[in-house]
Every structure is written in C-alpha cells, then in structure tokens.
C-alpha cells in the first residue's frame, strides 16, 4: 500500500466525469498553479487514462512517476511546467489563481 501513496501540493478529484472534462479540468488546474507546483489528479474515465497524461505533457507539464490504477480509478501526479505550450480551450482565459487557496500559498511562501 505504501508504494501507491504519494504526496502533492494539491489534488483534484475528477471521478465521475468523462472525457473531455477530465482533460479540460486537468489543464485548467495546472495552468492555475505556479511553475514547479504539483497536483494529484484522480479520474475513472478509461479514455482519460491516456488522454490526461498525453495532453498535460503536450501542454508542457511533467508526469511524475508512474500512474497508479486502483480498480477503475487512475491516479496521476503532475508538476506544472515553466511555460504552458500550445493552444487549447483553457489557455485563452486569463490565468486564474484559485482564490480560496491564496491564503495557504501565502503561508507556504513565508
């Protein structure tokens, strides 16, 4: 069990959503992070097992370690890339900081 336990800065539970929403939400969440921050994504859409890492990498982010599958749920950990590459749905919106996380991030920096 301990081998599948990993830590990340944030987590995003996308279980129950099917494609393309896991990809859209993963990319949007990654864009909202600062370069180098990590996020754990969980999805149970079999199409997303491939699409989420594919599209996150093509957008310039890094998949950390091997994805872990537990039942129908797949867990990924990504590190946000230094720059967001390419054009896709979420990139045209102004970069959004997640308001409710700001306090925590601030403490983090201190």
């Amino acid at each position: 069990m301990s081998s599948s336990f990993r830590t990340a800065d944030y987590s995003l539970d996308l279980r129950g959503e099917s494609c393309p929403y896991p990809v859209i939400h993963t990319l949007e969440a990654l864009h909202g992070l600062r370069p180098g921050e990590t996020i754990e994504i969980s999805t149970d859409c079999p199409q997303a097992y491939r699409n989420v890492p594919d599209d996150a990498r093509a957008a310039g982010h890094e998949l950390l370690g091997e994805p872990v599958k537990e039942g129908a749920t797949m867990l990924f950990v990504f590190r946000r890339g230094d720059a967001v590459l390419g054009r896709h749905l979420t990139e045209e919106k102004p970069r959004r900081r997640f308001g409710f996380l700001r306090g925590r991030r601030h403490q983090h920096e201190q």
Binding site: Y10, A58, K69, G71, L85, G86
Partner: protein, 402 residues
C-alpha cells in the same frame, strides 16, 4: 491501459467488411435504436406501425432478439461489459456535477434525431458507409466535423463545463487487498455468466438453423469488446481536434477507414454484391451537423456511449435514452412534419462507383482519406514539436506519431 486505437480501428474495419460479406448488411446500431423507440411508443399505446418511417425505412418486425440488428446492439453491450469487467474498468460512476445528466439527455436527443435524418450514425453513415462508396457518408462525415466544432464552442463555456476546484492534497484512503480481491471475484463471476449466456444463445441459433443470428452475436461481442479496449470514440476523433488540437484518434480513424475501404472493396469485387447507397442531400447536411453537435453535448456518439454505459458511466445511460427518443421523434416527424417530403424525397442516392466503377470509387475514397490525413498535418506537427521540446522519452514521441 487498453489497446492502441489505430490497430483496433483497422481490425474493426476488416471485421465490418467480413460482417457485410456474411450478412449483406452493414454494422449499424441506430436503426435498431429507432425500432426500440417504436416498441416503446407501442407500449404507451400509440400505433407506430402506421407511421411511414416504420413502413418504409426500418420495419418493425418481431422483437430485438429476432433480428441481426437487435443482436448486434445486445451483443455489443455484452462485449463491452465483458471487456470492462476483465480489465477492471467497471465502476458505477456518477458525475459530481448534476448538469451532466440534462446535458447528456439533450445531446442524445439531438444526435439521435440527426443520425436518423442522415440514414445512419458514425457507423452506417461513416465507418461502414464510406466503405460502401456512398456519397452521403462523406457528406455526413464532413458535416459531423463541423457540428463537433459548434459543439465545442458550446461546451467550452464555463456554465456548461463547470468550475475546476483543486484542493490542498491530503492523505488518500486506499482500498484494502481484501476489498480489491472481492471486487475482482464479483467482476469475474459476472464475466463468466455473460460468456455462458452468449455461448448458449449462439448454440441455440445454430441448432435452430438461424445461423445469421449466431453470426450477429459473435460479431457484436467482438465489436463491443474492441471498442471498449481501444476506447474507440468517434466523438473524440473530431472533438480533440478542437479541444486540445490533438490528431491521434482522427489519425486512427483514417487508418481504420482505409482498412475498411480496401477490405470492403475486395468483398464487393469478389462477391459481386451491390454496395449500399443512401440519399445524399439537405437531410444529410442537417443531420450530420446536428449529430456532431449532439455527440459533443452528450459526451459520446452512438458507439462511444454504448461502451461507456457498460463501464458503468450513468451519464451514458441517459445519453442512450436521449438517442432512442431523438430517433423516435425523427421517425414521427418523417411523415407527420413533412421531413421526408422537404429534406429527403428529392435527394438522390449517389454512389462513387458511378465515377469509374468500383476501381474509380476505391481511388476517390483513398484520395479523400489522404487529403483528410494531410489536412491534419499542421496540428500533428505542432503537437509533436511541443512534446519534443519538453524532452519527453522517445517511446512517448512514437506514440504520438503512430
């Protein structure tokens, strides 16, 4: 992690040609959805037998178990369920955003209506229609692509797709080994029961001299298992072009279509059968556009939603219901609202074989597929350069190129 979509698409192409050679009908599902809708309104007290659509287009004879089309649908559902259970992909999933249900219902209705207006869905008017050298299938494919672009403009809206809410990570609860073992036992028991039922159905039909039904059971099961393992999503083949500018599934679809075109060509040449041609006209254009829009709204096309439903995705069940409703509404409007008179009656069935026979049709089809492939080149190259810029492993680069 499933099978790569390119080879699976190619296998489906070859198998659908074989199915055509054996049964004389193509691999299709929406005609049967329309019949299911007909049976449903019959139960509600209406008389669909008096609707022109059920007299002239898809006859309502017997029940789903007496028809090859019916068994294709049932066996595809069974095959997808078998594959999902085997691969441990089965889980009853409900989206946290309740809006996905009305979205799937609305999309299903629009897609079901459009599909029948154009005489087929992504199968009969695309994957098994293009190999029949019917012009309507090309028109449908083009307008479906346009419809999916319209659909993406809709689902990209924040009110439609919903908010992204990451939270600070915390320790995750894992299933115990005992829980995992019990789930596997449950899934594999269900797997065994379904295999036994399908085998019994085959045996029964062979013994009672209805071999075509046995053929439908076998092919349906294989089709269903393949679309689940390969995650053969026609919606994504178009939608990904607009969402993430990814050509992977579109490329796989072109490979599958090329295989289907060539194998069907051989079947037609050897057997001397006539290719199946459907009318190409405004009905196809409007139907294809609505279909493309609807499948993006619903999140899946007619086949994608079948394997998703069997993976336990409850949204796909709603989309399935929407499809049957949309197809039945079209059947009602066929004569009652004059849809046939205004949009279909004047449309001629055009076969590409009228331009230089079978060989001419083969050349035209392959050239069109090559143009499709070339049109996607800028997107393919741009994605590849982004992946290489990140210094990803060589294996990953090849995967994208494939």
């Amino acid at each position: 992690m499933g099978l790569p979509p390119g080879p699976v698409f190619a296998a489906l192409g070859a198998l659908s040609a074989a199915y055509f050679a054996i049964t004389g009908t193509v691999w299709a599902v929406t005609g049967e959805f329309t019949r299911l809708g007909g049976h449903a309104v019959e139960l509600l007290g209406a008389d669909p037998g008096s609707w022109t659509y059920y007299q002239e287009v898809t006859a309502l004879e017997g029940g789903p178990l007496d028809r090859t089309d019916g068994w294709i649908v049932i066996a595809m559902l069974a095959g997808s369920l078998l594959a999902a259970l085997w691969a441990d992909d089965f889980r009853v999933r409900t989206p946290p955003l309740r809006r996905r249900f009305p979205q799937a219902l609305a999309g299903g209705i629009v897609a079901g209506f459009g599909a029948r207006l154009a005489f087929g869905c992504n199968l009969a008017a695309m994957f098994t229609g293009i190999p029949q050298f019917s012009l309507h299938a090309w028109l449908f494919t083009l307008t479906t692509a346009i419809g999916t672009w319209l659909g993406v403009q809709l689902i990209r809206q924040r009110w439609w797709r919903g908010p992204t809410r990451p939270v600070p990570a915390s320790a995750r609860q894992h299933l115990t080994a005992e829980q995992n073992r019990r789930r596997r036992v449950r899934h594999l028991s269900a797997f065994t029961v379904i295999v036994a039922a399908l085998a019994a159905a085959c045996l029964l039909y062979l013994l009672t001299e209805r071999p075509l039904l046995a053929v439908a059971v076998v092919f349906g099961t294989v089709f269903g298992a393949l679309i689940q393992r390969g995650q053969i999503c026609f919606t994504a083949a178009f939608r990904d072009l607009w969402v993430t500018r990814k050509t992977k599934l579109s490329d796989a679809l072109v490979i599958g279509l090329a295989t289907a075109v060539i194998t069907t060509f051989v079947v037609l040449l050897v057997t001397g059968m006539d290719p199946l041609t459907k009318p190409a006209g405004w009905g196809t254009v409007i139907g294809g556009t609505l279909f493309g829009l609807g499948i993006v709204m619903a999140g899946a096309c007619e086949t994608g939603m079948m394997y998703r439903a069997m993976e336990g995705q409850t949204v796909a069940w709603v989309a399935f219901g929407g499809n049957v409703i949309g197809a039945t509404v079209l059947a009602y409007g066929w004569d009652h609202w004059g849809i046939h008179r205004h949009l279909v009656a004047s449309a001629p069935p055009v076969s590409l074989t009228s331009f230089g026979g079978l060989w001419g049709a083969l050349v035209i089809s392959l050239v069109l597929l090559a143009l499709w492939w070339l049109a996607m080149s800028p997107r393919r190259t741009s994605r590849l350069s982004r992946l290489n810029a990140e210094g990803s492993a060589p294996a990953e680069r090849e995967e994208v190129a494939a």
